[in-house]
Symmetry: C2
């Protein structure tokens, strides 16, 4: 049974201001919550229905589990269709990304991506293709937004997300910086080599001029039809796919 103040506390975590104040975010659904349990994240509390209680208890006996009803879940959920379990999870301490930490890998760099569904899908796709970290500009949508968490389908539990000053971090990386731009080399032809950063821009405005200046190679997904542009999550996926396809040739 949840008290009124518990309900309003959990609901407050739908909003960025309160996530920041309490240093907590929420994840929902059995798959997503169980992947956070098996990760480096610290679970604060899991609220779940009686049906899921034994399954979650098996995962870890150290976690605070609170049984609530379907009706109560529907009062605190951020989903249109609640899934019987909601966890409050600690927002990890920000770690600085070093040039060393970017070497010998490919890292996606998001310059102002705004749509939560896009960021979530990018994280899920990057995880599928074996990428382990993503750099985001300060104005990229916050990764602990419930819609982002949901769209990652648990992949957020494995992906390191760094919000950083892109100009500074990119220019001191010493790595090739590929940018998704018009009139560049075809993504099918470009030699990505063994390491590098792949920059993708905002849904409407693309990559900011300041970041464009640091890009060492403009890369384009060839267009065969009439659409004016591609969705940024789709573009990211094609970049991830091409980098991996070439790595196994």
């Amino acid at each position: 049974m949840l008290s009124k103040s518990e309900i309003s506390f959990i609901k407050s975590l739908h909003l960025k201001k309160y996530r920041k104040d309490h240093n907590l975010f929420i994840a929902e659904g059995f798959k997503s919550v169980s992947e956070f349990i098996n990760s480096d994240y610290t679970i604060e509390t899991i609220y779940c229905t009686a049906a899921l209680l034994p399954k979650l208890y098996k995962f870890s006996r150290k976690i605070k589990l609170v049984e609530i009803t379907e009706a109560e879940i529907s009062k605190v959920t951020a989903l249109t269709t609640p899934q019987g379990v909601l966890a409050t999870i600690r927002i990890p301490t920000r770690t600085e990304i070093s040039a060393e930490g970017l070497k010998n890998a490919f890292t996606l760099v998001l310059d102002g991506v705004q749509d939560p569904g896009n960021l979530g899908t990018i994280i899920r796709t990057a995880d599928w293709f074996g990428f382990t970290q993503i750099l985001c500009s300060g104005d990229t949508v916050e990764v602990y937004n419930p819609k982002v968490v949901q769209a990652t389908m648990g992949s957020l539990s494995r992906m390191k997300i760094h919000y950083t000053d892109l100009e500074k971090t990119l220019s001191t990386s010493g790595l090739p910086i590929f940018g998704a731009l018009l009139n560049g080399t075809s993504v099918y032809e470009v030699d990505f080599g063994k390491e590098g950063l792949i920059v993708l821009g905002n849904e409407g405005k693309g990559i900011t001029p300041a970041v464009q200046q640091i890009i060492t190679e403009a890369v384009t997904i060839p267009r065969f039809g009439d659409a004016e542009s591609l969705n940024v999550a789709v573009s990211s996926a094609i970049f991830c796919s091409e980098i991996k396809r070439k790595s196994i040739k």
Copy 2:
């Protein structure tokens, strides 16, 4: 100035039942509406703010243009951020797809895709890669849902969408039928040839067993990391990209 009954009429088109009754759907935003004007679709009425009136009038003097205020747009819009113009557009008469109409091309086949954003993104991506038609199972989300129309970013004006009995249409096509499945040939290795159908399944359940039986080649996007699955719009994009990449080799 919109009357109360006009407001409720336009708003009713947010719902499938009324779109079907009136045989109309809505599209919003200058880019999307202008692409429908320059297409085979028949525009019923365009409602727009004074600022956009001259720009739209230039496109076609034959279309019924109604000037309305920002406040009025916000009463009828299906968007969170209305864009100053909303058009009501005739739903075209359904045409039957023939086996002949599928030859010498690649066609995406969607078996139960449910999320409007996914369907819209798939249409936009298919348009970018030069595909011209998509087959959908009867239980795929309706393409004239405002969220689908919005996510296509105007590409719906160019793409032919056929809702059809997939088992019947696929089995009589005489074409290779590739299916996005686990444990198939790598999408990077498969020979797509010059024509064929590419089947993608529902977000949670994948391709239905009956349709799986008609598939002639299972194709898999290789996984390099830990995500359990890819978003269906992302998978579609990688299939489109691979088919086109191989076609230009």
